[in-house]
């Protein structure tokens, strides 16, 4: 059994910021990250041997990420890339696997900074090759410099769509259509909440004007309703949405495309906190379960902290500040900081966090994830991509009395596959709410169990606790 004072799960902005703050307090944290290079998704790096000729051309996120990564790699931190946390046992014992080697780590404090992923939006044809999550498509361009397609439809809701679209434009596409669910009306209502965030507003404005200048078809108040193709994407149907969020299928139009990128906001990765048994609350504004935590980012389980998007999606700047808060609180618990010193260092961070959270609340209002979108799911639509379970089977389980996502899982097999319900779980909740009228807090969330991602039995069997 390996021992560690502080284990941080994830080397994205929150995990790296937490590790640096902990190192500052005299702790040598162990940072476990599934990726081979630090950065998480937003700061995802190019492969080591790739060299860009103009570093400035990579944009602000990349430059800020590079600076943080450099500090992270130079600090006294035990960084373990390519390492998956697949289970938690007893009191802060983590099962980890690095390739084919299983190991168990006993931690005193744990900071979970597992990030977020695109909300899956099951519509007919969404399993066809050439359909990507918006974040995934962006990663292919950003960290591999490969275009997922030449005639592209980016559809969904939220500021990420603008970022993805500009990535496509910079990389050079033949055509780009951008479909934003939000009608973007009466934006003056948010003046108070976004006031003062000139940097972020300026970023948004720059993205938008670049897209307008490039002559992109930007359609607000529209959704993609269906994707067609034989062995890959060939065409997609787009329809307007009215003020109440109803899809006007009678006014459908078609676009010829070879790639579709779906981005309906992000979902916090809560597998680890759920496995831990931390208490979670359902956020109606984000339509997602988030771990409950106090102002020091500590969950309902003492010594287990959360930071970044896995604690509620709020973007990179919030993630970095939350990472620091969690590390300071852990340092206090580990006896490295006095309560007064800890409080002193936290005060200025909390002030910044309050401002950032106001901005995020405005974004949640402007780009609401709509419950109504569950209507786009037809009976034939695959909901569980792993076990190939169609909506029909799930509706009939609900009609027969399945009342929780876990019951649907047992009756239909949805959520039982390799992704452990990451893709279908949230949608099962939406479907249940639609079918029974019971919202997620009354349903509970899908159960999770180790291993959190598939591991070969032979690998697991080498070492028993």
């Amino acid at each position: 059994m390996t021992r560690a004072e502080l284990v941080i799960v994830g080397a994205g902005p929150a995990g790296m910021a937490a590790a640096l703050e902990a190192a500052e307090a005299g702790i040598r944290p162990m940072v476990l990250d599934e990726n081979l290079q630090p950065g998480g998704q937003i700061y995802r790096q190019l492969p080591p041997r790739f060299v860009v000729s103009d570093a400035q051309s990579q944009g602000k996120d990349a430059l800020e990420g590079k600076a943080l990564i450099r500090r992270f790699l130079e600090a006294p931190i035990e960084y373990r890339p390519g390492t998956l946390v697949w289970g938690v046992f007893g009191d802060k014992q983590l099962g980890i696997v690095d390739g084919k080697t299983v190991e168990y780590v006993q931690a005193e404090c744990v900071i979970i900074a597992a990030g977020a992923y695109d909300r899956p939006m099951p519509i007919p044809g969404w399993t066809l090759p050439g359909v990507f999550s918006a974040g995934g498509a962006q990663l292919f361009i950003k960290s591999q410099r490969v275009l997922p397609g030449r005639r592209v439809l980016v559809a969904g809701t939220g500021p990420l769509l603008l970022v993805v679209a500009t990535h496509f434009l910079a990389a050079g596409v033949e055509s780009l259509t951008l479909c934003e669910l939000s009608c973007m009306r009466r934006l003056w209502r948010y003046t108070g909440k976004v006031w003062g965030h000139w940097g972020l507003l300026w970023d948004g404005w720059r993205y938008l004007s670049r897209i307008r200048r490039a002559g992109v078809r930007l359609m607000t108040g529209h959704v993609v309703t269906q994707i067609f193709g034989q062995d890959q994407v060939e065409e997609a149907a787009i329809a307007p949405v009215d003020e109440e969020g109803r899809v006007r299928s009678d006014r459908k139009g078609l676009v010829a495309v070879d790639a579709v990128c779906l981005g309906y906001g992000l979902l916090p990765s809560t597998e680890l906190t759920r496995l831990y048994g931390c208490r979670h609350n359902f956020s109606e504004s984000q339509l997602a379960w988030v771990p409950a935590c106090d102002s020091k980012m500590e969950t309902s389980i003492p010594g287990v902290f959360v930071a970044g998007d896995c604690a509620g999606v709020a973007g990179v700047y919030t993630a970095r500040e939350e990472g620091r808060i969690a590390a300071l609180a852990a340092a206090q618990q580990l006896g490295r900081l006095s309560a007064a010193e800890c409080q002193r260092r936290m005060d200025s961070i909390h002030a910044r966090l309050r401002r950032l959270r106001r901005f995020c609340a405005a974004l949640d209002d402007i780009y609401p994830p709509a419950r109504r979108l569950v209507d786009l799911t037809t009976d034939e639509t695959i909901i569980c991509r792993c076990e190939e379970v169609r909506a029909q089977a799930i509706w009939s389980a609900i009609a027969d009395g399945a009342g929780t996502p876990t019951e649907i899982k047992m009756w239909t097999g949805a959520g039982m596959g390799r992704c452990q319900g990451r893709m279908c779980g949230p949608h099962l909740g939406l479907m249940l709410a639609r079918g029974t009228g019971l919202l997620e807090p009354a349903q509970g969330h899908l159960s999770v169990r180790p291993p959190l991602k598939p591991i070969e039995l032979g690998t697991l069997a080498q070492r028993i606790i």
């Binding site: 492969p47 080591p48 490969v146 596959g417 893709m423």
Partner: protein
């Protein structure tokens, strides 16, 4: 197959060029690229066929979460989006759960 590959060439120098074997065809790759990037760049869209309905699939999430981009690489089932290529790698389309002929 598109007429030219989908790599972005502006402002970028890639690592060492490799050639990998995809279902018997030689496909260009560069050191550090993921299998998914190599396949997408070559216009190779179908990574696997599903066990139940024999449907075509490729990657969806691009970040190791959905497990839809599975392929057989040197006899092992891996996520194409999370696995970097190696010299002379043999990639096979995964059919269903994979048969003993492809798997080690």
């Amino acid at each position: 197959m598109p007429d030219r590959d989908l790599r972005v060439v502006k402002d970028i120098h890639r690592g060492e060029p490799y050639e990998i074997d995809v279902d018997g065809a030689r496909v260009p790759a560069y050191e550090g690229e993921t299998i998914a990037a190599v396949l997408i760049a070559a216009g190779h869209r179908v990574f696997r066929r599903t066990a139940k309905f024999n449907e075509p699939r490729s990657g969806y999430c691009g970040m190791g979460i959905c497990f839809d981009c599975l392929v057989v690489a040197d006899g092992e089932i891996v996520r194409a989006c999370m696995t970097p290529v190696s010299r002379d790698l043999r990639v096979r389309t995964l059919i269903g759960h994979g048969g003993p002929a492809e798997l080690r």
